[in-house]
């Protein structure tokens, strides 16, 4: 098959060698015109149905070369014969040199009707035709279509999808079917139209027995069998095999449903080929599955098309069964003596796409910024993402920030905390059912710490319940758990039909935590004449900003959370910094805050907890009032209280520097891992490493090994166990 192109369009480079192509050639046709094969053999359809022309094109692997127009300089690398193409590699020691991917653009289209293929009777529809470079990758529920276009990706949403993709040509499955030089009739027709010299052509149909080939792996003869059983070899340079057609229905099999219609020959039943019988004949060229492999899987019990596919790998390759599916159905029908099984399902990518194409226009989560974001940056904060927000990790010296809290005064941005307002005649009833603590006895102006449990009694979140009035409360939650907690409350309130209004104020209010022995003095300077006592809350103007002042403590020191309107936040922050200068004020970031809370043994839900953490496992039974007749999770807690304890969260301490969070906790007896560290901090005050973490083996040990050192179980809080400082 060699011929000089009549109308030279340029040269492509195949495995480093230049090959001339004619204008209009696909890459596959150009390679065939040069007397070579695009891959390593097998029957070519040149219609995008089989996987026998796959190669790496311009750095992208698994490209159907028959579907790519040859352009000057197109670089083609054949895949290895018996291995996968290599993945692009990079030097992981230097991530700054990681290759930058080219952004893939997405065109979004909406249409009442989309037609995949050619369907002349559908006027007014958006028509996606592979022959003009619109390669449909998948049809998805919606329905929506993802297609690859010449300039990027197309995301098409349609009210109805019509699949009019016609038929594929059945591939041969017999000895020698993996030789080069075998074509389907349509492929032969295309090459003839392109004036590619096919040499001696032998045409064959269902009488095919095998192909003979030479040492180069090229077909030399087609062997058929006479009526008297004699094999007849017809010498050839090209074998054209006509075994009939099958529906090109991979897209239809991807998304069944009323809104996706298959029409024309793609919807018709076509005669299946004879069941392949020769054990070493390749059924699935993509995966190399032979007839013998099918038999082995079948005999192991995988006697269903879907199971056989997974057990033998037939149909799992790039062509998604385009080559093997008719043969598999025929083979199973022959085995069972029954009708052929329905075609197997198709995975949701009918064409191999790159990660860039798959990710095109996909937005990563948006991280929120508090109104103090620029203040933090101006103060030299190292910002990090935490709980869905950008938050200051530290301002350059976490230990100094720690000491400011313990010995002076410090402010922290806690605007990220979840904040709900709930109101209504049934609000107490609702909160009593939702929370495991008492709610009705919280007086206006007072607050209570609360866990939020699910029906299994597992800790979902925690926060404060603050009573504003008889029928109105403010609830706070963790930064990362706020959205879920809001949905949880709304869902239950609606389920119970209670008259309660819920307003999420998380992103409407900012909050600053003022903490340290001088906190009260600082706030007095800015207008807080009468500070609330511990767990009290008041409304007051601080530095001219209306604030909801909440007296509580996560740091272990006197602390006030100032919840206030966003537009007053920068002014309030600056006033606090300014008036606190002579008190040694510093802002503190998360790193110091986590250390401060660790010394107090306070839990951080989500960091210290697991999905099935109960209050008992945390040592927080005190936050659960089982004398209440009902609350979410009560029945589970009652039941599991009778079970032996298998896990518990402990405090640990040891000399030296704190180990990495997440470090394994090992048995001192045998070195087995019995748990892990969830929080770790080298306490500047206590001069040793403090840890919080899980023991998951009983009996619980008093001494464990962490980071190769012996640590002892230590009661929490490590610091100020009586809580005098927070209440001061």
């Amino acid at each position: 098959m060699t011929d000089a192109p009549a109308d030279v369009g340029g040269r492509i480079v195949v495995d480093g060698r230049p090959i001339e192509f004619a204008n209009g050639d696909s890459v596959a046709v150009a390679i065939l015109r040069a007397g070579e094969v695009p891959a390593h053999g097998g029957c070519l359809c040149l219609a995008g149905d089989c996987g026998n022309c796959l190669a790496e094109v311009d750095g992208v692997a698994y490209v159907r070369t028959c579907q790519v127009v040859a352009r000057p300089g197109t670089a083609v690398e054949r895949h290895p014969l018996a291995a996968k193409p290599e993945l692009p590699t990079t030097d992981l020691r230097d991530l700054t040199r990681f290759p930058i991917a080219t952004a893939v653009t997405v065109r979004r289209v909406e249409a009442p009707l989309a037609v995949v293929g050619r369907e002349p009777s559908t006027r007014g529809a958006v028509v996606l035709d592979a022959q003009v470079g619109e390669e449909v990758v998948g049809v998805y529920p919606g329905p929506s279509i993802v297609a690859r276009e010449l300039l990027g990706m197309l995301h098409l949403r349609a009210e109805e999808v019509v699949i009019a993709t016609g038929t594929t040509e059945i591939q041969p499955v017999c000895p020698g079917s993996d030789l080069a030089g075998i074509l389907t009739p349509r492929a032969a027709e295309r090459l003839t139209e392109a004036r590619v010299d096919l040499g001696r052509v032998a045409r064959v149909g269902r009488e095919l027995v095998r192909f003979d080939g030479d040492d180069r792996g090229h077909v030399t003869a087609v062997v058929t069998r006479d009526a008297d059983g004699t094999d007849v070899a017809t010498p050839c340079d090209t074998a054209v095999v006509d075994l009939g057609r099958a529906p090109r229905d991979v897209l239809a099999r991807m998304t069944p449903g009323d809104v996706v219609r298959v029409v024309g020959s793609a919807a018709e039943e076509h005669p299946l080929p004879s069941a392949p019988t020769v054990p070493n004949a390749v059924v699935c060229p993509c995966m190399g599955t032979t007839v013998g492999d099918l038999a082995i899987a079948w005999d192991k019990g995988y006697q269903d098309l879907e199971l056989l596919k997974r057990a033998s790998w037939a149909g799992l390759g790039p062509c998604q069964g385009g080559a093997c599916l008719p043969h598999l159905r025929s083979w199973i029908a022959a085995r069972t003596g029954g009708p052929p099984p329905d075609p197997f399902t198709a995975r949701p990518a009918a064409r191999q796409i790159t990660l860039a194409e798959a990710a095109a226009d996909v937005a990563i989560d948006a991280f929120r910024r508090t109104p103090l974001h620029d203040e933090h940056l101006a103060l030299g904060a190292r910002m990090d993402r935490f709980g869905g927000w950008w938050r200051p990790w530290h301002y350059g010296d976490a230990v100094a920030e720690y000491w400011a809290v313990r010995e002076g005064v410090s402010i922290g941005d806690v605007s990220t905390l979840g904040k709900l307002v709930v109101s209504g005649p049934d609000v107490v009833e609702a909160l009593e059912r939702i929370y495991p603590c008492h709610v009705a006895d919280i007086k206006p102006g007072r607050s209570r710490y609360a866990l939020l449990l699910n029906e299994r009694g597992h800790v979902m979140d925690d926060g404060m319940i603050l009573r504003d009035a008889e029928t109105r409360f403010t609830l706070t939650f963790t930064s990362g758990g706020a959205a879920n907690a809001e949905m949880w409350l709304r869902d239950w309130i609606e389920t119970w039909g209670l008259r309660v209004h819920v307003m999420d104020r998380t992103m409407s209010l900012a909050a600053i935590n003022v903490t340290g022995p001088f906190a009260k003095r600082l706030l007095a300077r800015l207008g807080l004449e009468e500070a609330p006592r511990f767990l009290g809350h008041v409304r007051a103007e601080i530095a001219g900003v209306p604030c909801h002042v909440m007296r509580l403590s996560f740091t272990g020191e006197t602390a006030f959370e100032l919840h206030h309107p966003l537009d007053g936040s920068v002014g309030l922050w600056r006033a606090l910094m300014d008036r606190g200068r002579d008190l040694g004020i510093r802002p503190h970031g998360l790193q110091a805050l986590f250390g401060l809370r660790l010394e107090k043994g306070h839990v951080i839900v989500g960091m210290d907890t697991e999905l099935d953490t109960t209050p008992r496992r945390l040592g927080m039974d005190w936050a659960v009032r089982m004398e209440k007749p009902a609350f979410i999770g009560r029945a589970s807690l009652e039941r599991t209280a009778k079970l032996p304890e298998t896990r518990r969260w402990f405090g640990f301490s040891m000399d030296g520097q704190a180990p990495t969070e997440g470090s394994p906790i090992r048995s001192v007896e045998n070195g087995e891992i019995i748990g892990n560290v969830t929080g770790s901090w080298t306490s500047p005050l206590l001069g040793k490493a403090l840890m919080l973490g899980w023991q998951r083996r009983t009996p619980f040990a008093d001494k464990v090994e962490i980071d190769g050192r012996q640590a002892v179980v230590t009661p929490t809080p490590f610091y100020d166990p009586e809580g005098h400082r927070a209440r001061a």
């Binding site: 997405v106 979004r108 909406e110 995301h155 949403r157 226009d361 996909v362 937005a363 990563i364 989560d365 948006a366 991280f367 929120r368 910024r369 508090t370 109104p371 974001h373 927000w389 307002v421 109101s423 209504g424 005649p425 029928t471 109105r472 008259r499 209004h501 819920v502 307003m503 104020r505 992103m507 409407s508 209010l509 309107p565 966003l566 537009d567």
Partner: protein
Amino acid sequence: MPALEPVDGLRVVATPAALDGARWEGADVDVLRIAPDEALGIGATGVEVDDADAIVEPEAGFAVALLGPEYVSLGAHTDWPIPDEPGALAQGKIAGVPAKVLVGDPTLLVVQTAYVDELRERLGW
């Protein structure tokens, strides 16, 4: 590039019937009914609602961009249809950022201030 500027207003959670009959005070108030039981009155300085337990709070947590007919180009960044009927309110992610679009003359693009910088960066504004 369109400016996304913080706005003041009122947010109200009340019974749907009370919100239907709410009387908003203020000049050029744009009311976004963001849920059956919740409304945001941009520019509102007061509101009367017939619900004793209604939650009414001043709201400074949103920013608004005023857009002309070019608002339809936001559709390039959504996987939901941008409405074209005047008065229509659509809520969803634009370039992955939660936002609201109130169609009118001008059309309002409304986003919580915590997301403003992220949305600006993603839209190249």
